[in-house]
């Protein structure tokens, strides 16, 4: 990797909880390039925040190393890493004004008064906070406090910007706005950003690359589009976007393609599908049960042709798309189908057929209960 990036290698963090050791993070490795917007995504308790805090220097790794620009950070305390950090709770200094909150890092760096005033007002401008410079944090709205905490993290031109669920405490509309603002700011400044969130849509929308965490492990890393279209595990398939899982049995395998039977298709009838990517690990043995993943937008609904039959339980108009909930024999729960527009002759309560293209289907091994 480039010499100006960040490398996290084999990072592990063990905590002692009630006398037992628990791996909050186990064996996590990744690299982040200069100027990249990198997001760690996962449900709460998956280890993403702990990983971020180890990069920050706020937690000491049990094993593994964090290297920045070729230098091992193990012996560098948080305050000397020149990293900016935005906390979920904003963590504004309650006894200092907005100006002083932002100026804090510069005062520690013994910046001259004139330069300090210039730098602070520049970053306040950047975040549309100029008129609040003299206000106390408690008198600001959540969104404004959020911006102050970003300004405070950026003012001393850190090498890395860390953001720990920065939008979690904002309302939905502001969240959409702020995430664009953060992404725009990061692009403009060309700063390396590491972002933590549990919101997969947010991660998709703003990141160059996404790392998906589950129970302390990094399980998939890649560009958002790639992670969405090619999940390497059932967990990622389920966590990112919406997915239908159809139980199947594998009866034949040939390279990267497999033949499966579908329980609703009648005895002996097989569907030949491409078992996703040429990833040998994921090819499951003949005779075992699998789950076929199909995204709602990859299913086609018609009253005539299609691989299998169902009946329409509900039709929801969502504005930009129409969502159909279809009951299919042998599938627990509804199969969701999304279409850009309403499909003629498909009515609530009526029969229908579902079709898909083999290339869109991904086969996973069925987890044993």
């Amino acid at each position: 990797m480039a010499a100006d990036g960040l490398a996290v290698s084999r990072l592990t963090k063990r905590f002692l909880v009630d006398g037992r050791t628990v791996d909050a993070v186990s064996d996590v490795s990744f690299e982040v390039a200069a100027g990249e917007f990198f997001t760690m995504l996962g449900p709460s308790g998956c280890g993403k925040t702990t990983t971020l805090r180890m990069v920050a220097g706020l937690e000491t790794p049990s094993e593994g190393a964090v290297t920045f620009r070729g230098r091992d950070l193990a012996s560098v305390p948080a305050r000397q890493r020149n990293i900016g950090m935005v906390f979920q709770s904003y963590a504004l200094f309650p006894h200092l004004s907005v100006f002083e909150n932002v100026a804090y890092g510069l005062r520690l760096r013994r910046t001259q008064a004139k330069e300090l005033a210039r730098a602070v007002s520049e970053v306040l401008d950047l975040l549309h906070l100029s008129e609040f410079a003299d206000r106390m944090p408690a008198s600001l709205s959540g969104g404004q406090q959020q911006r102050v905490s970003i300004a405070r993290a950026l003012v001393y031109r850190p090498d890395i910007l860390l953001l720990d669920e920065p939008l979690a405490n904002l309302d939905a509309k502001l969240r959409l706005h702020m995430r664009e603002e953060i992404r725009g700011l990061q692009r403009r400044l060309g700063i390396m950003a590491i972002y933590v969130t549990h919101d997969q849509e947010e991660a998709m929308a703003i990141s160059d690359r996404v790392a998906v965490f589950d129970r302390g492990r990094l399980i998939q890393i890649g560009a958002p589009a790639r992670v969405y279209s090619d999940p390497t595990s059932l967990f990622v398939a389920d966590f990112i976007g919406k997915a239908n899982f159809i139980p199947v049995r594998v009866i034949k395998r040939d390279g990267t393609t497999a033949d499966v039977t579908m329980p609703w298709g009648g005895l002996g009838q097989t569907n030949r599908i491409v078992a996703a990517r040429p990833d040998e690990d994921r090819l499951i043995p003949i005779g075992s049960d699998g789950l076929l993943m199909l995204r709602p937008e990859h299913l086609a609904l018609s009253d005539g042709a299609g691989s299998f039959a169902g009946h329409v339980k509900r039709v929801q108009f969502l504005g930009s798309t129409v969502r159909y909930a279809v009951a299919v024999d042998g599938v627990a729960g509804d199969v969701l189908v999304e279409s850009p527009r309403a499909i003629a002759d498909i009515r609530e309560g009526g029969p229908c057929r579902l079709g898909y293209s083999d290339a869109d289907a991904i086969l996973f091994e069925r987890p044993r209960p």
Binding site: A56, L58, E59, P77, A78, R79, Q80, R81, N82, I83, G84, M85, F87, Q88, S89, Y90, A91, L92, F93, P94, H95, Y104, G105, L108, R109, A138, S149, R152, A153, Y156, L162
Partner: protein, 553 residues
Amino acid sequence: MTARYELAPIIAGVLAIAAATIFLGYPLAHVVINAVTPHGQDPALGNLTVRNFERFFISASYQRALWNSVVSSGGATLLAAAFAVPMAYTVARVDIAWRPLILALSVVPLIAPPFIGAYAWIMLLGNNGMITQTILSIFGWRLPSIYGAFGVIVALALSYFPYIFLIVQGALAATDPAIEEAASMAGASRARVLRTITIPMIAPAIGAGMMLVFIKALGDFGVPSILGGEYQVLPTLIYYQIHGFFNLNTGSAIAIVNLLLTILALAILSAISRRQVATLSGTARATRLTSPAARLAGNTYIWLVLILSLLPQAMVLLYSFAERWGDTLLPSVYGFDNYRRVFGEALATTWNTVLLSGAATIACLAFGTITAYATVRGKAVARWALDLTIMLPFVLPGLVVGVAYLSAFNDPPIVLTGTAAILVFAYFTRRVAFIFRSAAAAIGQVDNKLEEASSICGATWGATMRRVMVPLIGPALIAGGVLVFATLIGEISATVLLYSAQWKTISIAIYELVNANDLAKASALGTLCNALTLFLVLLASGLLGRNMSEMFR
């Protein structure tokens, strides 16, 4: 339902005003009238005088008592802060063992009546005290006399430092740890974070705790009366004026000065409280210092302060079992002799205490809960009453309550002197605000919608109270009641002016034994008193499911 909401605050308002008038306004008015009436005369328009206050300008002993009160309370406050603040920081920010034990032990000095600890200091540091003799025999040094400013300041500081400790520790625990982390991410060292972020953030909490200690110390009678010797402070001066010279008029004048001083401190306290910075209490845990040096220093400091503050109580316990204690460092014969000797007295006085405190507690519970319900559910209507009553127990030093009740209820129309009622009312006045506060807090936590849901289900108002409200706030009320009862067991500063031979309490019995220098019997009674109090507080904490330390914060 609506009608009841409108009615409730009115009922509460009337009740509160009636009670405040009879138990507070009327007695305090008497204090003022007595203070401006010449000694030995009946109050009348023609003989108004400021003579009773004059002594503060001409009498050296009065000036000294005023000065001593300020100095001993101020000194105790500073010393208490020196004990408490580093201790609070250590508990909150250093990775030390036995945190719950430390928090529980730190409350004990608040639970044990201060005057019981005070005479233990005589056993330790008096002329023939354990420590004095030990140091004399080993080093040949003679320690400064425990009597006077030194002893009073040390004993007060060690009795009241937990207030600062608990408030500051609570404030530190409630601050978002990310705030300090943000400072270190910005480049600040530990020391810098402490100086520029942590201390400014908790400064209002430190200030509030210190003012609380100052107010408590200003009103304390037991400690200076036992350890003061010739060193007079305002409460002891009041006591001697009234007990020694039967001069209620000058007593009243001193009480007013004492009260004004307290009110001044209270005004500062409320100004500080308003500056309290609100911090988001996150679920995140603070990262604690784990270095061996920090742990060693923290543990050493904490246990030193704790041992020092618990030493007097331990001493009382030890002495109570000592049957013979000659020139040796420790008693030579142990046994239950002291307990046997105080048995009769203990039984009678404990019974009195239980009756008086019990009656006062029930009165507090009934009155405090009703007014709290009306205030909380009546929305903003009686908010001022809430504010006033929160401060009430602090405004009035016990001795001032004593003087006020002596003045007011000695002559018709209401004559209560020498009865049990006067003690019950005095206790009620001193503690009702506590119940009001706990009840208001508990009721405030019960969502209004629960009551609405209950009545929509068809419950009458009474049924809603019985089936919904009472089960929800019951534990808090019982715990509050137990706590009030427990703290009344050691009440002395109001009792000492108001009790009569027939209604002698256990605290007075101990006080008399100390004054008669019968420390062995006093220790046995003191241990009983401490044990009873501690047991009740533990009971309350069990009922409430909360730490002892949380209940005193």
